[in-house]
């Protein structure tokens, strides 16, 4: 029989990467918070890659950390190997990527949640969700009724999940967990615009059955960088990854069995991510490619399970085994878990505001894969923002909105709620027009003051941050004021690095501006250099070298924020605005942008429509 259990300020459904950050932020901001999960043993699970970070995702993790989120600290604490990707391609695209011990990570995160003030975490499947008066009600499978002022949906791939392997398909969550089937029905009943997406994961094999001598070893970096700016955990490389390649035989096996793929036979209706193609997708779409790269990644220190990145598939189990065995080093691989595709319910993110609250459902928020994104980091980023905004709602504060110019998190959310997505959304550096400013190395400078103002960054950490900033400023001043006199020594250095020699003395900063020079090279002519942390030198060097570009981007940002500041009243009736083209009026009515900047980014809204909108706003202001 149904019974009333308890009321919370905020209830979070799902304890994956989005749910964790949402719940922690809400509780840390003082709201009574509950997290419901189908399986307490898999809090913060990584059902796909045992890794965190990567291009632009590494940026997200550092931003989450700079704002006071948990992911960066937890990743550092459970790290197996770390590399800075894209070195040599420029600081804007440097990205941290780390292999993570997934079981340890899950245990760690569960404990963080368990020990958080104001937070209660419990294993319970929510089977119904509805709103009465101004309160949301959540019913569990065991018939407990909870109530909450705000609810955050972070259901990941559990919502009406269905797994496909060849001809076989069944209702399931990821990694053999129950799907959230009844909740899927309840959410559709609420009237949210739902749709089906799909994603997939490759096989896991036993390490002892692999022949590493036929593969290339991939070690971690010799100098490691923490995800967390607080750098409270010492990190070191504990494992190696390996690389191998598919070949003509692999290709033939897959092509011969394509008719047995549920994707190609049309059984799966869900839209899969473009950037995360299955091996059969890659072989069909890029048939001219001779080989595809496979990364061999360990899942943890106390397990022999190995993840085969690049071999995601929904072909039948026997075909999977065949093509795996065609790959050098994997000839005798013993498959421990079969690759599968999973289809799940998610919402059209255009129904969300930039605060991640639904436009038409007060107090209801969405985060993570539920919002149509993909990836642990994208999920965590949205969870953090949804958690902060739910708390702000409870506390009667203004919505917390990050803009595109200030962070990848803001870019991600703006893309989702403004442009929507037709396949699971993955962050990429190329999605940010301001990426020379939105670097992973300066996420703290960009966001820690905000995190502190929000109340998620401790005083101690904030003071350390301020100190770092002042060291950066001092060092920059020193470069501006330090003279390098003309000498044979300095010109010898310049010439040996293929840059023009000096004709007269100059300031140190002038030399630092040259692309081919850096702190290390200039050391012999910089005798007064103080001892400083390497992050400080890094910040100064980047800011000096890329100054022209950075200034230009700031100018663009200033221009962009001009429109961002023109707020649009939520009750605006676009259909009544003369001159707005029908398509634009429809889109604007659907998306209800919070400012003209957001409106201008909606596809189908032309500069002419923006002018008309501005004229209308100007008119209604008078």
């Amino acid at each position: 029989m149904e019974y009333f259990a308890k009321h919370y300020d905020i209830a979070v459904i799902g304890a994956g990467h989005a749910g964790i950050e949402a719940a922690l932020a809400a509780a840390r901001l003082g709201c009574s918070t509950a997290v419901f999960t189908i399986n307490l043993d898999w809090v913060g699970n990584m059902p796909c890659n045992p890794s965190i970070g990567g291009t632009s995702k590494g940026h997200l993790v550092r931003e989450i950390d700079a704002l006071g989120g948990e992911m960066g600290i937890a990743a550092d604490a459970n790290l197996l190997q770390s590399r800075m990707l894209n070195l040599g391609k420029g600081p804007a695209v440097h990205s941290l990527r780390a292999q993570i011990d997934r079981k340890d990570y899950s245990r760690y995160m569960k404990h963080v949640l368990e020990t958080q003030e104001n937070l209660e975490i419990m294993q319970a499947e929510i089977i119904d969700l509805y709103r009465e008066e101004k309160t949301w009600y959540l019913k569990t499978k065991l018939e407990a009724l909870y109530s909450a002022t705000c609810v955050i949906l972070a259901t990941g791939t559990f919502l009406s999940g269905r797994i496909y392997v060849g001809d076989v398909s069944y209702e399931s969550g990821p990694d053999g967990m129950f799907p959230a089937k009844e909740l899927g029905v309840a959410i559709r009943k609420l009237g949210l615009p739902m749709r089906r997406f799909k994603t997939g994961t490759p096989s896991r094999v036993n390490r002892r059955s692999l022949d590493f001598s036929k593969m290339e070893e991939q070690k971690g970096d010799s100098e490691l960088v923490n995800f967390s700016f607080a750098a409270q955990n010492k990190i070191e490389n504990k494992v190696s990854c390996y690389i191998t390649y598919t070949n003509e035989t692999t290709k033939k096996i897959i092509l011969d069995n394509l008719d047995r793929s549920p994707m190609y036979s049309g059984k799966i209706e869900g839209k899969g991510p473009r950037y995360c193609p299955s091996i059969e997708d890659k072989i069909v779409r890029f048939s001219e490619k001779q080989r595809h790269q496979i990364f061999i990644e360990p899942c943890g220190l106390d397990t022999e399970e190995i993840y085969l990145q690049g071999l995601s598939s929904s072909l039948p189990e026997d075909v999977q085994a065949d093509f795996i065995h065609s790959i050098p080093g994997l000839e005798h691989a013993q498959v421990m878990r079969t690759a599968y595709a999973i289809e799940y319910d998610c919402v059209d993110p255009l129904a969300l505001k930039a605060s991640l609250e639904f436009l038409d459902y007060e107090g209801l928020f969405g985060a993570g894969q539920f919002n149509g994104s993909s990836g642990y980091e994208e999920a965590a980023a949205q969870g953090l923002v949804a958690g902060i905004n739910a708390a702000h709602k409870i506390l009667g504060k203004e919505p917390f909105i990050l803009d595109r110019a200030g962070s990848y998190i803001g870019t991600l959310i703006d893309d989702l709620v403004t442009k929507g997505c037709t396949d699971p959304y993955r962050m990429m550096t190329s999605r940010s027009e301001y990426r020379l400013i939105l670097r992973q190395d300066n996420a703290d400078a960009r966001l820690t003051p905000t995190g502190h103002a929000l109340g998620l960054i401790s005083e101690e950490r904030y003071l350390a941050f301020l100190q770092k900033q002042s060291l950066i400023e001092q060092e920059r001043k020193r470069l501006e004021n330090t003279s390098v006199p003309l000498s044979d020594e300095v010109n010898a250095i310049l010439v040996s690095h293929e840059t023009s020699p000096l004709k007269k003395g100059c300031k140190l900063i002038e030399l630092m501006k040259r692309p081919s020079l850096n702190y290390k090279i200039l050391a012999p002519v910089d005798p007064t250099r103080p001892e400083l942390p390497k992050e400080v030198f890094e910040q100064v060097e980047i800011s000096v070298k890329y100054e022209g570009y950075i200034q230009r981007q700031y100018a663009q940002i200033k221009e962009m924020r001009r429109l961002e500041k023109k707020l649009i009243p939520p009750e605006t009736n676009y259909e009544a605005i003369t001159g707005l083209r029908l398509e634009a009026a429809e889109k604007l009515t659907k998306i209800r942008p919070h400012n003209v900047g957001q409106a201008s980014r909606i596809s189908g809204v032309t500069p002419a429509d923006v002018s008309v909108l501005l004229i209308h706003l100007a008119k209604s202001e008078n």
């Binding site: 890659n49 632009s56 473009r274 990364f295 999605r431 081919s516």
Partner: protein, 455 residues
């Protein structure tokens, strides 16, 4: 909205003149001034896209002119409203008289560009097309009308899109290589990057160069006829104006008080903007001095410098040659009908086109026409080639060009490719601004279309 009317053809002497009436009451207003002979139907009863032959009359019943009335029904008209176009035969004077009757019948004068504005507000045209239309409206010669039309038809956009496609391709390659460092993608080669950027730069520059020509053809060029007293300036002036039967307009600028006379000459429009001044100076001979020539030479886009071959060259002549040294100028060796006291080779040393001319006999007129076309760069003007019809397009293209320059500069000075890539993206964004798309989307799509990336 109120019903508006205006003369919608260029107010030229001769030819057909059209009065356009637009608004809810367009047919009702037109009916009051028009009597059909070809049909018994009233204009209100007629279907859209039909015409009636008849005459326009004053309120008194006095017949003013023969007329064909064309009826358009909303939304199938230029403005998206009910429209009647009255095509009359008579000249400007008669046309204005008909217009007065139309106003008396209840229409209000249209403000400058109001038809286009209504078309724009009624979603008949977008901003880019509106600009092309605006160009048509102000076009002063056949060639420019064709150029404006082809902008609307997308000749320009095809060229811009072609430039853009190559930049998007470059950016997508860089972005895929950056965002998927672990996929074995081809490493972008700096030499290839540079080559493609240089190509894009050249195409942008070529397109931009057409802008000046377009402007000369559509808007005309300020032209000054300079020279010592009595060298024949006013004769040449009269020849240019008089020989041309179509003195195009005496437009009273809406924002300016200056009255300018524009004349067709060659395939261009010359704005003899200070005609009165020149003539006046001619009367008061003593007033013409070097200082005045200098001032005129500075502001003019084209200078016709006139020299008298029947009198020895003087100090003022050489001063004039010095003044116009770096200007677009044609040197006229005038009075070739009289016996010459010096030879044209003296002028030829100045590196400018020299025309042997006799204003009296109009000798050299055709050569002067050709020389003007050459000097203005309109000689090879191809109205079908991509042309930049508006300032906005020019601005976007210039911005794209400077971004491409930036990218090249970054590449050459050894900057990392992230900086190069951002500059290319900015160029793409500048060009996409014309169609309202965004670079990030275009590039993302390109990545997934052309590169095998992802786990």
């Amino acid at each position: 909205m109120k019903t508006i009317a205006a003369i919608s053809t260029a107010p030229a002497v001769g030819g057909i003149g059209v009065i356009r009436i637009s608004g809810d009451r367009a047919t009702a207003v037109a009916q009051k001034v028009f009597q059909a002979l070809s049909t018994k139907k009233t204009l209100e009863q007629m279907h859209g896209y039909t015409a009636a032959y008849g005459f326009v009359h004053a309120a008194t019943g006095e017949k003013l002119d023969e007329c064909v009335a064309l009826v358009f029904k909303a939304p199938h008209s230029y403005t998206g409203e009910d429209v009647v176009e009255l095509s009359c035969h008579g000249g400007l004077f008669l046309l204005k008289k008909v217009l007065e009757q139309v106003y008396a019948a209840g229409a209000e004068p249209a403000e400058a560009g109001e038809f286009t504005k209504r078309a724009f507000l009624n979603k008949k045209i977008d901003l880019t097309r509106a600009e092309a239309v605006a160009s048509i409206i102000s076009a002063q010669s056949d060639a420019s009308a064709t150029a404006a039309l082809s902008a609307k038809e997308g000749v320009l956009f095809r060229e811009i899109e072609a430039i853009n496609a190559s930049l998007i391709g470059l950016s997508a390659h860089l972005a895929a290589w950056t965002d998927y460092p672990e996929d074995d993608l081809e490493i972008p080669q700096e030499s290839e990057l540079k080559e493609k950027l240089v190509q894009a730069k050249a195409r942008c520059e070529q397109l931009l160069a057409t802008f000046d020509v377009t402007k000369i053809v559509t808007e005309g060029v300020d032209t000054a006829i300079l020279g010592r007293t009595n060298v024949g300036k006013s004769s040449i002036m009269n020849l240019i104006c008089g020989e041309q039967k179509s003195i195009v307009t005496d437009i009273e600028g809406t924002t300016r008080d200056v009255v300018e006379t524009s004349v067709h000459f060659g395939n261009s429009v010359l704005k003899l903007s200070d005609t009165a001044g020149i003539r006046k100076s001619e009367d008061t001979i003593e007033n013409i001095g070097i200082a005045l020539s200098k001032k005129k030479a500075e502001s003019a886009g084209l200078i016709l410098a006139v020299f008298d071959s029947s009198k020895p060259l003087g100090e003022e002549d050489f001063a004039l040659l010095e003044t116009i040294k770096n200007k677009r100028a044609i040197l006229i060796y005038n009075k070739s009908d009289l016996s010459a006291v010096w030879q044209p080779d003296i002028l030829q040393e100045y590196g400018k086109e020299v025309i042997i001319f006799s204003a009296k006999h109009a000798d050299g007129y055709h050569n002067l026409e050709k020389a003007v076309e050459q000097a203005l760069g309109t000689a090879d003007f191809n109205p079908y080639a991509p042309l930049l019809a508006t300032e906005r397009q020019k601005v976007c293209l210039s911005r794209a060009l400077s971004c491409v320059d930036e990218a090249l500069e970054a590449l050459e000075s050894g900057f990392t490719l992230d900086a190069v890539n951002v500059s290319i993206d900015s160029a793409v964004n500048a060009l996409l601004e014309l169609t309202g798309e965004r670079a990030t989307e275009a590039i993302t799509q390109e990545i997934f279309k052309n590169f095998c990336v992802g786990k």
